[in-house]
Structure formats: structure tokens, C-alpha cells
């Protein structure tokens, strides 16, 4: 157990190590990469939602001066992206699917050549509505998806039938979420150098060099070591950058054929095609309450439009299944999740990983259940919430859990007691609660992160990790952790990362594993280096190595700070000793569990909104966010993570929707896809709850996705509280709010629920 008072660096606000470089435009991104002889690639895309390719005529493009290579299916007949999607398929399945590509001396020539490539199609009947794809007798779209169901997961825990029979109240609700897009700060881009065909080097923004490396190696029949992945700064991840995309393969293919490096970057609406965020989804929940107001049983039937190809979207069903019953003690769970094939582009994840979107529905369903039972939702949450030591029906165990503390602190700060049911008309308050895994084993048999650290003679250090910094400030967090162990300052440490030829292995920055797994690896590496130094210091001080303290760039025997020597002196002495030791530490961390997660973060957010009943516009006035992050390594950054996720959650809840018509996006631009601006950001109050997780680095757990899980449901509940009816489809656009208001009739959830503490259901 780490005591806060013992920590010198961890838990204090540390400015981002890359802050100045990013603010002054000096931080390098993939788009800055310029290689000698580099060509520019352009992709030819299908303009039909479903069609057989009859013929591709590249002759006119090939004759254009400046064109250096053209690739089509003939160049890569057996190349697959992931498991199921051929790079160039014989039949296209969505508007925007890659059909061919060209590399030329400059972008304009490449674009011109791409337009000269003639593709002859035989159109086939398409289905772009996932509910139509599920209907009896619907055209089968994919040979591996009978009934157009690409993947189905069914789970059963306990005896739902009996639990429903014993319930005194059963409620069923259906919710929808709509297609969306992550609006990355950095557009999609890849530079590939496959000259010679023996070693492939790819520069690209990524959350996980390892998975990219493996996928590219598998696709081109190389060994992992023949693929070098270079990730410079990455402008946003949101799970969308955890899987290789067609443009990575195409850049490599063009490079091999042209024997020159090739860059492909998204231009204008291509960004919306390359990204593939969430698809339209339907969530049906049915739950039963016991006589005492306790949640007994949960049943969920979830359907996700996965688009034309299923790549790794099955993670959606795996995650939503385990998160469904993570927050409450229940007796029984029945779950079914299905991925449906359609002729929409292959959807993947939006910020929130499918969980925040499910929670939009689930949080509203629970709120309604509480009202049915005559309970204040906060009472309901506190009555049913899990706590420390709980193990869920699917085996998730909570070694630390601050859920109830988050609920209590957030609602107290928000003034819940005097506001819920007592606000003026069209003003509402709502709560959302959530949990999130800090890393999850399951991609490989290991979930390993490794780290090296070397200490120069002047006491400065280089920390090598494979964890990419995609804006979450993980490099700074890792420097803080290493500095804490070695008694240094974060500014003494240079974090080296982003080159698989150099970096130690790391599964990557997804499933919120960075701080937890890589942080533990850094503790191990820094601890190894410290042990080497401690041996020398112990000899000098005449104490045991365990009694040597490293703090504030000083080293001293425990309890005798007066005998301190400078850390750099110790490093110097170690090198200039008879042994001549250069201090290098190494370490790794792998979750001891066979699968799943060591620690979960918990959180609660209270949203206060105003609804304009005439226009349907929702304004988020205030968000109070309380999050159990185990330990805040860098509190300012924790607050920044919360702010970012509140923003994205609000944005998804109220604004973001990719409007699809016959498989085509109607608003693929930042002008028409209305991502809000800073003006729309509500006031956010942060409450950091520290439960000091026994397995986390210095007790820390994740904060990269926990907050967003709470935001959408909190806002939706606040809107329902303001207008008296729920809006069961996200985003809550003015039109949807007005429709809900028009259908309100006499029902009103605004009628303040009587203070019913202890009241029993009839």
C-alpha cells in the first residue's frame, strides 16, 4: 500500500513533457514525414453500395506522365485485411470501398490518374438498413453470414426465468444509437517504404504498433521483424486506431511495386471513409426488480450494424456482455449480441468503445426502473451498486471499488437532493454511472508491456517504451512513474517510443491498459536500475541496499537525509568504479490472470441541462464528474481526460450523427457533421476519488475511457427529467427532442417522485 505522503512526484501536477512542442507546432506527425523519392498515392473507391467488378481499365491512367504504379486486385488477389476482408474484393460491398490505387510524383497527378481508372460494375441489390437485413427472406449479403448475421454471442448466467418470475416489476425498453465519426485531430495517413520487398517500414498514427506490425506481416507473408512500424505523435485513437486499415496495405503495395516510398493521406470526405466509427445499433433491455427494489435480473438483446465486413467488431459483443452487469449485484443475466452485415461501410468504434453508447440506453433504462419502483435513481444506484471485493457473474473481480463514493460525492456536489424533481420546468438533472477495465488480456495469451531505462552520466535518463502517446499524455505519465522510483524529476527523463526496431514490446494503448500495464513495466525497469545504484550507494553508506532512499535527485540512507549525495554523483561513481557499470534497467508487466482485467475504474457524473421546449435544443449547463482512478499519477491530466470525455460524451449525446442515405453519407465534412466547439462545452467540476488499487502502479487505474461511459446517460437522464419523457435515440437532436415532447401526452416523469426511501413495491 502506497501512502500519498511518501510520494514525491506521483500525484502532483506535472506539465506535459511534449506540451511546448505541440503548442508551437514543432511536434512531428506522420504527415510531416518526407522521404527521398517519396510518391503520393490515391485510392479509387466504389461509388456503388454493392456490385460485382466486371473489369478495371487502367490503361489511360498508366499513360499519364508522372504515374509510377497502379495496383488492383490482380496485384494482391490473396491479401486480406484482418480475417475477412480481402484488400481488393471481387465484389464491392459499400460506397467508398477500395477498388484500385495509383502512386504518382505528386498528389494532383495521383488524383488525376485515379479519375482515369475506369471500373465497370454490375450492380447488385443492396441493403443498407440493418433491420431490413435481419428480416425474413432478406438478400444474403455475405457467404459467411447466414441470415446476414456475421457474429452472434449468447450468454447465460444464473436462472433468468426464475428471477423474472420472482420479480415484482419487469420493464422493457428499446434504444437506438446512430452512425458517428471520431473526428480525429490528425487525419488518416500512412507512409510506406517497401522498396526491395524484404523489409516494410510504415509510418502511421497508431494506438498499437504491435498489432499493426503483426497484421501487415501476416498480410504480406513477412515475419514480424520484417515490418518496422513508426508511430510519431498520434492525433487521437478512440479504439479506431487499433486495427490496420486498407490504406496501410495499399501504401505498402504501391511502394513495393514502384520501389519507392509512398504516402497516402485522407483528403476531405475520405477521412470519413477511412475511419469507420460506430454504426447504427439497437439495444433492447428487460429487467426485473425484487420486492426490496433490488435489481434481480437483466436481459439484453443488442444488434449492431457492422457494415459490409466484420473485422474485429466482435469485441463489441464481448465487451457489452461483460459490462452489462458490472455495476449492480444481480442474480441472473441473459445476453444476446449480434453483428449484422449490411452494405454500409464497415463500422467500428466511436469514442467510448461501444460501451458508452450501450450505457446511453442502459443508464436510461435503469433510471426508469428506479422511478417505477418509486425510488430516486441515486437511491437505486446506492442500493444495487457493487463494492470492493465483488465478483460479477462473468468473473470480473474488484480489488478496489469507489463506485458508491463517486455516486455520493458527485450527487452531493451537484446538489441532487434539493434539485431532483424540484427544478423549474424544462430544467433537468440526471445521473450516469460507469466502470471501465484497466487493460484486458484476451488479444494474445500475454498482455505484456515492457520498458528499458538507461541513465546517462549526468543523471538524465532515457525511458524506452512501446506505448504510443496519442494525446493522452502517457509519455509524461511514464516519466513521472520512472522519476518517482529513481528519485528523479520527470523533466530529467526523455521518453523514447514509436519505432518497433527500438522499442520494447507493448501490446499498445487500448483497452485502457497504458497506465496500468506499461506503468507497472516502467516501475519494474526503473526498480531494476535503482537496485543497481542502490548496491553502490549501500556500500558507500554502510547500510543495506533496501535502506537506500531515492528522492528529489538525492540519495541517502533511510532516516539520514543529512548524508545525502546527488543522484548524478552516484551515477557518475557507479560508472567510474572498478566495475565501470553503466546503469540500464529493464522490466515488463503481464497480467497474472488468464484473461480479463486486474482493475476497474468507477465513476459517476451528474448532468444539469436546460431544454428549449419550442426548438428542442438542449444546453448542458454543468457536469459534476467523480471518478475513482485508483491514484491520479498526474492530477491535471486526469482532469483533462475527464474534460475531453465529457466533451465527447456531450457531443455524441447531442450532436454527432453521420446521416446515411442508401449507404452514402450525407454530411462527410466538419461543416455538416456538427462537432460542437469550445462554446458548447459545459462547466465541468472534477472530483478525483483515490482508492489505491493493490495492483495498479502506485495504486493507479485507468481514466482514458471511464468518464465517457457516464456522460451520455447522465445527459439523457437529465433531458428526460427536464421534459418528462425519455428520448430513446441518440443523438438527442432538436428534432428528436421535439418529437418526444409531442408524444408526451399526459405522462410526466417531472412529477417529483415522492421521497420513498424504504417504500416497498406492491
Amino acid at each position: 500500500m502506497v501512502r500519498k505522503a511518501d510520494l514525491a512526484v506521483v500525484g502532483r501536477d506535472t506539465p506535459r513533457l511534449d506540451g511546448v512542442a505541440k503548442l508551437t507546432g514543432r511536434a512531428a506527425f506522420t504527415d510531416d514525414v518526407r522521404l527521398p523519392g517519396m510518391l503520393h498515392g490515391k485510392i479509387v473507391r466504389s461509388h456503388l453500395p454493392r456490385a460485382r467488378i466486371v473489369h478495371i481499365d487502367t490503361s489511360a491512367a498508366a499513360r499519364l506522365p508522372g504515374v509510377k504504379a497502379i495496383v488492383t486486385r490482380a496485384d494482391a488477389p490473396h491479401l486480406f485485411i484482418g480475417m475477412h476482408q480481402p484488400l481488393f474484393d471481387a465484389t464491392v460491398g459499400y460506397i467508398g470501398q477500395e477498388v484500385a490505387a495509383v502512386a504518382a510524383l505528386d498528389e494532383a497527378t495521383a488524383a488525376e490518374a485515379a479519375a482515369l481508372i475506369r471500373v465497370e460494375y454490375e450492380p447488385l441489390p443492396a441493403i443498407t438498413d440493418f433491420e431490413a437485413a435481419l428480416a425474413e427472406g432478406a438478400t444474403p449479403l455475405h457467404p459467411k453470414a447466414p441470415g446476414n448475421i456475421a457474429w452472434e454471442q449468447a450468454e447465460l448466467h444464473g436462472d433468468p426465468e426464475r428471477a423474472f418470475a420472482e420479480s415484482v416489476h419487469v420493464r422493457e425498453d428499446v434504444y437506438y444509437t446512430n452512425p458517428s465519426h471520431n473526428c480525429y485531430a490528425e487525419f488518416h495517413v500512412a507512409v510506406a517504404d517497401f522498396t526491395g520487398g524484404r523489409k516494410l517500414t510504415v509510418w502511421t498514427p497508431s494506438q498499437t504498433a504491435l498489432l499493426y506490425q503483426k497484421a501487415l506481416a501476416a498480410g504480406f507473408g513477412l515475419s514480424d521483424g520484417q515490418v518496422r512500424l513508426m508511430t510519431l505523435n498520434t492525433g487521437g485513437g478512440f479504439t479506431g486506431r487499433s486495427v490496420v486499415r486498407p490504406h496501410h496495405f495499399i501504401a505498402a503495395l504501391l511502394s513495393r511495386k514502384a520501389a519507392r516510398p509512398v504516402r497516402i493521406r485522407a483528403i476531405a470526405d475520405e477521412e470519413f471513409l477511412m475511419c469507420r466509427a460506430g454504426g447504427r445499433s439497437r439495444y433492447r433491455f428487460r429487467s426485473g426488480l425484487g420486492r426490496d427494489g433490488r435489481l434481480k435480473v437483466v436481459e439484453a438483446d443488442l444488434v449492431f450494424d457492422s457494415g459490409a465486413y466484420v473485422e474485429t467488431q466482435m469485441i463489441l459483443t464481448r465487451l457489452t456482455h461483460s459490462y452489462l452487469h458490472l455495476l449492480y449485484r444481480v442474480e441472473a443475466v441473459r445476453y444476446r449480441g449480434r453483428l449484422v452485415c449490411t452494405n454500409n461501410l464497415p463500422y467500428y468504434f466511436h469514442h467510448g468503445g461501444g460501451l458508452a453508447q450501450m450505457q446511453f440506453g442502459w443508464g436510461q433504462h435503469v433510471d426508469a426502473l428506479a422511478r417505477d419502483a418509486g425510488l430516486d435513481p441515486v437511491e437505486f444506484h446506492l442500493l444495487n451498486a457493487v463494492g470492493k471485493g465483488h465478483t460479477t457473474l462473468s468473473g470480473s473481480h474488484f480489488a478496489s471499488c469507489g463506485l458508491k463514493e463517486c455516486i455520493t460525492k458527485a450527487t452531493r456536489r451537484a446538489g441532487w437532493g434539493r434539485k431532483y424533481g424540484r427544478l423549474p420546468a424544462y430544467r433537468g438533472i440526471g445521473i450516469g454511472i460507469g466502470a471501465m477495465a484497466s487493460g484486458a488480456k484476451g488479444v494474445f495469451r500475454h498482455d505484456t508491456s515492457a520498458a528499458f531505462i538507461k541513465i546517462a552520466e549526468d543523471g538524465t535518463m532515457s525511458l524506452f517504451t512501446g506505448l504510443p502517446d496519442m494525446g493522452q499524455s502517457s509519455h509524461t505519465a511514464m516519466a513521472i512513474i520512472a522519476a518517482e522510483v529513481l528519485g528523479a524529476q520527470p523533466a530529467d527523463i526523455t521518453v523514447v517510443s514509436g519505432d518497433t526496431d527500438v522499442d520494447p514490446l507493448d501490446v499498445g494503448a487500448f483497452t485502457q491498459r497504458g497506465t496500468f500495464n506499461t506503468g507497472n513495466a516502467v516501475i519494474a525497469a526503473a526498480g531494476d536500475a535503482r537496485a543497481q545504484l542502490a548496491r553502490v550507494a549501500a556500500e558507500r553508506f554502510g547500510v543495506k541496499p533496501a535502506a537506500v532512499v531515492f528522492r528529489d535527485r538525492q540519495v541517502f540512507p533511510k532516516g539520514e537525509p543529512g548524508r545525502a549525495i546527488a543522484l548524478r554523483q552516484l551515477v557518475h561513481d557507479t560508472l567510474h568504479s572498478r566495475e565501470g557499470r553503466f546503469v540500464m534497467g529493464r522490466g515488463f508487466y503481464n497480467s497474472p490472470k488468464d484473461s480479463g482485467t486486474m482493475a476497474y475504474s468507477f465513476g459517476a457524473q451528474v448532468a444539469e441541462v436546460t431544454v428549449d421546449p419550442e426548438t428542442g435544443f438542449v444546453t448542458v449547463e454543468r457536469i459534476v464528474a467523480a471518478h475513482d482512478v485508483g491514484r491520479a499519477i498526474n492530477p491535471k491530466i486526469v482532469e483533462g481526460q475527464i474534460d475531453g470525455q465529457v466533451f465527447s460524451g456531450m457531443s455524441q449525446a447531442l450532436y454527432e450523427e453521420l446521416l446515411m442515405e442508401d449507404g452514402q453519407m450525407l454530411n462527410p465534412s466538419r461543416l455538416d457533421y456538427r462537432l460542437p466547439r469550445a462554446f458548447e462545452m459545459p462547466a465541468v467540476e472534477h472530483i478525483i476519488v483515490e482508492t489505491n488499487d493493490p495492483y495498479g502502479p502506485f495504486g493507479a487505474k485507468e481514466v482514458g475511457e471511464g468518464p465517457i461511459v457516464c456522460t451520455m446517460q447522465a445527459i439523457a437522464n437529465a433531458v428526460a427529467n427536464a421534459i418528462g419523457v425519455p428520448v430513446q435515440e441518440m443523438p438527442l437532436t432538436p428534432a428528436r427532442v421535439l418529437r418526444a415532447l409531442a408524444g408526451r401526452g399526459e405522462v410526466s416523469a417531472r412529477t417529483p417522485p415522492a421521497p420513498l426511501r424504504g417504500r416497498r413495491l406492491r
Binding site: 461509388h47 483528403i267 454530411n667 466547439r677
Partner: protein, 393 residues
């Protein structure tokens, strides 16, 4: 003067107006290797291509502009001469905030761009002898929004122009550009590759409308915020062509036609806007999802003369709802006859729905547009009612 010298001179000049220019040498090549955002001064251009239409237009990508020639006139007369010579093959480049997107999306393929940004004749706010304000059509919106005379005398116009784009956009976008804003439709205002997924529509050379499939007319939306306010204020436009200048009431400028939204002739240029500063109260409201950088789901401007009890004249205009800014004559009549009283405000708002005529589901449903229209009119009139009546004098 060497090319390098003129480039460096051009880059060091003080900003008078801001526009994007392609710097080409006299053989049409681009010595800078790309596009320069050049802050140009009031001097005549030293760099422009002499030849026109020599290279075939490149398809290019949305990042690249198609090939065209660029000329910067030394006087309005010279500009009008070129516009007359090239007719529909020329386009006017002022702020360029809308034009450049249209060029990248290949919605326009002009042979010649006439850069009017530096023409002094088109700049500034001047009081006229009859008390009207003359607003130069080339004046950047920021200049207008910050003009003290305009803020006090024409608050609806100041509010409308302030709601356009973002600060960065308003710094370069001009009043004339805003009034000539092309009508928008999400089946049209997309990249060229995107549009290939559908047959061309009336606006892109085809004969179908994707908004209303059975229709043979274009329903693209007019979203000019300035137009809405200026219509309510009873503005007139000064239109110039090579040999003549004419004045037209703004009422006669817009047409309910997405394809040809104004009566501006090829070769003609909006040079100034005259706004009468009669004793008026005016207001402008915009409902848009985002604060800034957004088109309205609906906008309204209203102006009345007289007191709340005795309104002597009323003009109410809705924007971003149809293919032109709609004068709500029925609602105006109710206010003019019954004054700005709660009951007449309600009646006028109700009448607005009928005034609108046929609406489409473009960007929002017809029902939502009609509902919003009613709200906008009610709110605008209520806001006018709250304004001090003395302000009118």
C-alpha cells in the same frame, strides 16, 4: 523586377484586405511550388498570368484547385471590363471563403478569377446625404460588425453578420460575398467523387432532384444571414456592369429558385448596399446547432417603425428555410394593422407558417422548418416589443 523580389515584396506588404491568391509567373507556372496565402496590399497586382485557358482543367483532388487564371484589377472599371469580356466564364474572388470550397469541390470551373479584394471603390461604410448608409460590397464582415454606426443604427444587420462563420471567416468574407452566397444542398455541396455515387442533379448538369425525386426544379437552400437582415431593413443594391450602374431593391434581387437564386446578370457585380436608416427597431435571430461556424436551421430578421401600439411599417423575413429569404407578408400585415401586442404577435407567428409556402425536407424536415418559423417570428417580434420605443426616434 525579379520574380523573387516581387514575391518578397508581396509578402511584406501591410494588410488591407486578405485573399488567397495563386502566384504565377507570366508563363502560367507556379514558381512557389504551391499556394501562398498572401496578404496583399492596395497596389495593383504585379503577378498574374497573361494567357487564359491554355491548360486543360485538371480534375485533381479536393485539396487542389482546378486550373484558372487570376487577374487583379487596378480599378472597378477594369474589373467590370473583364467580367463583361468573360461573362459566365469568370468568377469574382473577394474573401474566397465560399468560392475556394466550391472550386475544390469542382462545383465551379471558371476560366478567370477576378480578385476584387483591393478595390477601394468597394470598401467601407459611408453615410449618404439622405441619411442612408452606403456599405461597400467588398467590405469584410468584421469591419462591418465592428462599425459603431452600424452597431447602433442597424443592430439586426450587425447581429446577422456576426453570426456568419467564425472570426477568421469574417475577417476575410465580404458583404457582397454573403449576399451572393450560393444556395446549398447536401446532394450537391460535396466532393466530386462523392457526387459520382448519384446521377447528376439539376444543379450539376442532370435532370433530377434528389431532394424531391419527382420535381424538375431545384430546392437548394439560401442561407445568407446578411440577406435576411438587409431585406428586413429595406436595403437596396447597387449593381454595376461594364457600361451601366443600376439600383435594385433587395426584394427584387432574390428569386425562389435554387438554380438561379438571384437576378444578377453575368458580368454584373454587386458594388454597394444602401440601407435606409429610417426610425426603425430591428432584430435578428439565428437558430443553429453550433455557436458559430454553422448555417442556421432557421433565421429571422424583423424591423418595425412606430410604437408598439401603432406600428407604421413592419418587415419580417425568414432565412435558411427555403431557396430564398422569405418575406412574411401576411405576418407583416397583421403587425402593421394590430401593433406589437401579445395577441398580434401570436397571430403573426401563426400566419408565418402559411406565408412560407411549399417546404422540403432538405437539412431538416418541412414540419420542423414550419414549427421553427413560428417560434422564430414570435421571438423576434417579442424582442422588438421589448426594445425601447424611443430608440425609434
Amino acid at each position: 523586377m525579379s520574380l523573387a523580389k516581387s514575391l518578397s515584396d508581396a509578402l511584406q506588404r501591410k494588410p488591407v484586405c486578405h485573399c488567397l491568391e495563386k502566384v504565377v509567373d507570366d508563363r502560367g507556372r507556379d514558381p512557389s511550388g504551391g499556394w501562398l496565402t498572401r496578404i496583399s496590399g492596395g497596389r495593383p497586382a504585379v503577378l498574374y498570368s497573361a494567357g487564359v485557358g491554355r491548360r486543360p482543367p485538371r480534375r485533381g483532388s479536393p485539396l487542389h484547385l482546378p486550373t484558372f487564371d487570376y487577374r487583379r484589377p487596378q480599378s472597378l472599371a477594369q474589373a467590370l471590363g473583364w467580367l463583361a469580356e468573360f461573362g459566365p466564364r469568370a468568377a469574382v474572388l473577394a474573401g474566397g471563403t465560399d468560392l475556394l470550397i466550391a472550386l475544390r469541390q469542382r462545383l465551379l470551373r471558371p476560366e478567370l478569377l477576378v480578385g476584387i479584394g483591393a478595390l477601394a471603390e468597394l470598401q467601407g461604410v459611408q453615410p449618404c446625404a439622405d441619411g442612408a448608409l452606403r456599405l461597400g460590397a467588398g467590405t469584410p464582415l468584421t469591419t462591418l460588425v465592428e462599425d459603431p454606426l452600424l452597431r447602433v443604427r442597424l443592430p439586426a444587420l450587425a447581429a446577422a453578420l456576426q453570426s456568419v462563420g467564425s472570426r477568421h471567416v469574417r475577417n476575410v468574407a465580404t458583404l457582397g460575398g454573403n449576399l451572393n452566397l450560393p444556395t446549398r444542398c447536401w446532394y450537391v455541396n460535396q466532393g466530386e467523387a462523392w457526387r459520382q455515387a448519384r446521377p447528376p442533379c439539376l444543379k450539376t448538369g442532370g435532370d433530377v432532384c434528389h431532394v424531391i425525386r419527382s420535381a424538375r426544379e431545384c430546392f437548394a437552400l439560401q442561407s445568407s444571414d446578411g440577406a435576411v437582415a438587409l431585406l428586413a431593413l429595406g436595403a437596396r443594391l447597387e449593381l454595376a456592369r461594364a457600361a451601366a450602374v443600376r439600383e435594385v431593391a433587395l426584394d427584387d434581387f432574390y428569386r425562389n429558385d435554387g438554380l438561379a437564386p438571384t437576378t444578377l446578370d453575368a458580368g454584373e457585380l454587386v458594388t454597394a448596399v444602401y440601407v435606409p436608416v429610417t426610425p426603425l427597431r430591428s432584430t435578428f435571430l439565428k437558430i443553429a446547432p453550433r455557436t458559430g461556424l454553422d448555417y442556421g436551421l432557421g433565421t429571422v430578421a424583423a424591423a418595425v417603425a412606430g410604437s408598439n401600439r401603432r406600428v407604421t411599417a413592419a418587415r419580417i423575413v425568414l432565412g435558411s428555410i427555403g431557396s430564398w429569404p422569405v418575406r412574411l407578408r401576411g405576418a407583416e400585415r397583421i403587425v402593421a394593422e394590430g401593433g406589437l401586442e401579445p395577441a398580434t404577435i401570436e397571430a403573426a407567428a401563426e400566419a408565418a407558417r402559411a406565408d412560407l409556402g411549399e417546404l422540403t425536407n432538405l437539412y431538416s424536415t418541412a414540419g420542423d422548418k414550419r414549427r421553427l418559423a413560428r417560434v422564430l417570428v414570435r421571438r423576434a417580434l417579442a424582442a422588438l416589443r421589448r426594445q425601447p420605443e424611443a430608440q425609434a426616434a
